[in-house]
Amino acid sequence: MLAEIFSDYTLRIVSIGSILLGIISGTLGTYAVLRKQSLIGDMVSHAALPGIGLSFLIIGSKNTEWLLLGAFIAAWIATIIVNTIYRNSRIKYDSALGMILAVFFGFGLVLLSYIQKIPNANQAGLENFLFGQASTLLERDIILMAIIAVFTIISVILFWKEFKLLSFDSDFADIIGFSTDKLDLILTTLIVIAVVVGLQSVGVVLMSAMLIAPAVASRQWTDKLSIMIILSSTFGALSGVIGTIISSSIPKMPTGPIIVMVVTIIAFISMLFAPKRGLIWRRIKDYYNKKELGANMVLNNLYSLYKNHGEDFHPHDLDTICLHHTGIIHSKRMLKRELHKLEILGLAKEYENGNWAITQKGLDKMESIFFEDGRDIV
């Protein structure tokens, strides 16, 4: 299969294009997600459509560069309008996004159907931008994408601390002298470029997934921004290759949507299985916490018995230890089990005729829970 990619020219171009797109959108999508601007990708891609139509009408060329330039200008104007509305009115940011998205996309559709009606043999194919057609990628397009990828990576490295500051605490950025207006303009322009680059292969409708899904997936696996960006672009690139391979091995399978499917599956798997943040991992942790809590409650009871009986290690029978308010401990068998667990840890000790008492080590542990400024109780 891999050999096939390298031997088949079209396939090779398409996979390289998808990889580059994955790297660009994965990198910039990280910032969109962290800044809670996930919808911006959707707005930008939809708002690009009238630009494609107008560019074709004015220049009359179907060269990708011209069409994408039109797309870029339209999308960029849309972002400026959204920001202006947001700053100068009481309309919320997401409402402004939704509004401009609808207006621009609607206008784009009108333009496309108008173009289809004018008698010109050349117009076919513009509607491909709706869902993307990766097979139309040419070597020229790949070179353009490679340049943009390098440009993106250099910008992110150059403005590393500035973008981080903007995403984490933009007020503070302003206070210490980094104009967030400027930074926001740079970052948003990069995001617009990233989205526009993907229009040809993934299309207007699905492009936002390429921006958001890799970042959401990578966030699950790491707590470091640098690793998050590297992982995110890796996930983007990976889904590009896998999507291309799948769509090329099954006839009539559109590449763009398959890539989006793959990246979505990666995001889902990450959300389920990633350590620490994944749903399943958290369930397992909850289960163990509950078990741990049972033992801790028993230890707590032993501790209060110790405190209330003249602070000596005098043993008590099970009925005394099992106070009413130990919600998790509902049987004597369970209590015994927890006590034996504590014994293994050296926190409690069994005396003759099945009586139990706390040990010095158990005492230390309880005091550390009560008196130390820490959050982990293990």
Binding site: L34, K161, D171, F172, D174, D223, K224
Partner: protein, 248 residues
């Protein structure tokens, strides 16, 4: 009286046609701890933000040492409200505190060993060394507040503005923070704090601004922080105030 370091002239801030601050005149003398006190919605945070240019005032201007904020930026430190950022951001304590050095570094340049050392020193000051590599999402409210404080300390400013640094903080941390503020004062710095707890005002601060959209009164605690003035500040809610005082 000594010279004032900050002067606010005729500042009015309007949000959607509703005045939040009305014709505020304020002078801040150097080397003291100052509280901004007033009921909810009195414009306490807005006052700080407008002084620092985060909120655009409709009229009026603020000068720092007779100059604009932009020119004196490096002498001014800021501690925002803890809730103003997303603590689930993928970064750790050291990284956040290092952000305090970015202003001095300027554009593009990266923090190096010097900046790292400064940050570590500040983290030590707020007693968070053992949490240096901790993810910020794993911090308690008090610890988050101390991280923000450390980030401001790194700036080594001459005047600090702090927006509710005691909010959601346990008694131990509150004491730690206040002794830090006193240390700053002893080093000749000025600290302006948006504060909520009236009981502790006379204990913690030297100077007070009573604010309720307009400045009701401002000056040294012993002259200004009187029952009568507080009543005027909390006009509509002064009964609540009494109840609160009785409980204490």
């Amino acid at each position: 009286m000594e010279d004032y370091i900050v002067k606010v002239n005729d500042m009015t801030v309007v949000y959607h046609k509703k005045p939040v601050l009305w014709d505020v005149d304020l002078k801040i003398p150097p080397g003291l701890l100052m509280a901004i006190v007033g009921p909810n919605g009195a414009g306490k945070s807005t006052l700080i933000k407008a002084m620092l240019g985060l909120v655009k005032p409709t009229t009026g201007k603020t000068t720092f040492w007779g100059d604009s904020y932009e020119k004196q930026r490096k002498k001014i430190g800021y501690v925002p409200q803890r809730g103003s950022v997303d603590w689930d951001f993928p970064t750790d304590v050291l990284d956040v505190v290092t952000m305090g050095t970015y202003g001095e570094l300027g554009w593009i340049k990266r923090p190096g060993k010097r900046e790292r050392d400064l940050a570590i020193k500040a983290i030590e000051k707020v007693d968070m060394l053992s949490f240096m590599d901790r993810q910020i999402s794993q911090l308690s409210g008090g610890q988050q507040q101390r991280v923000f404080l450390a980030r401001a300390l790194v700036q080594d400013a001459d005047i600090y503005f702090m927006d509710e640094p005691f909010q959601g903080v346990d008694a131990k941390t509150e004491r730690a923070i206040i002794s830090l503020l006193e240390e700053l004062k002893n080093r000749g710095k000025t600290v302006v704090v948006v504060h909520h707890d009236l009981q502790t005002v006379p204990e913690y601060f030297d100077w007070v601004v009573l604010l309720n959209r307009v400045i009701i009164e401002t000056g040294p605690i012993d002259k200004v922080f009187t029952e009568e003035n507080l009543k005027r500040t909390y006009r509509s809610s002064h009964e609540n105030l009494y109840r609160k005082r009785d409980v204490m």
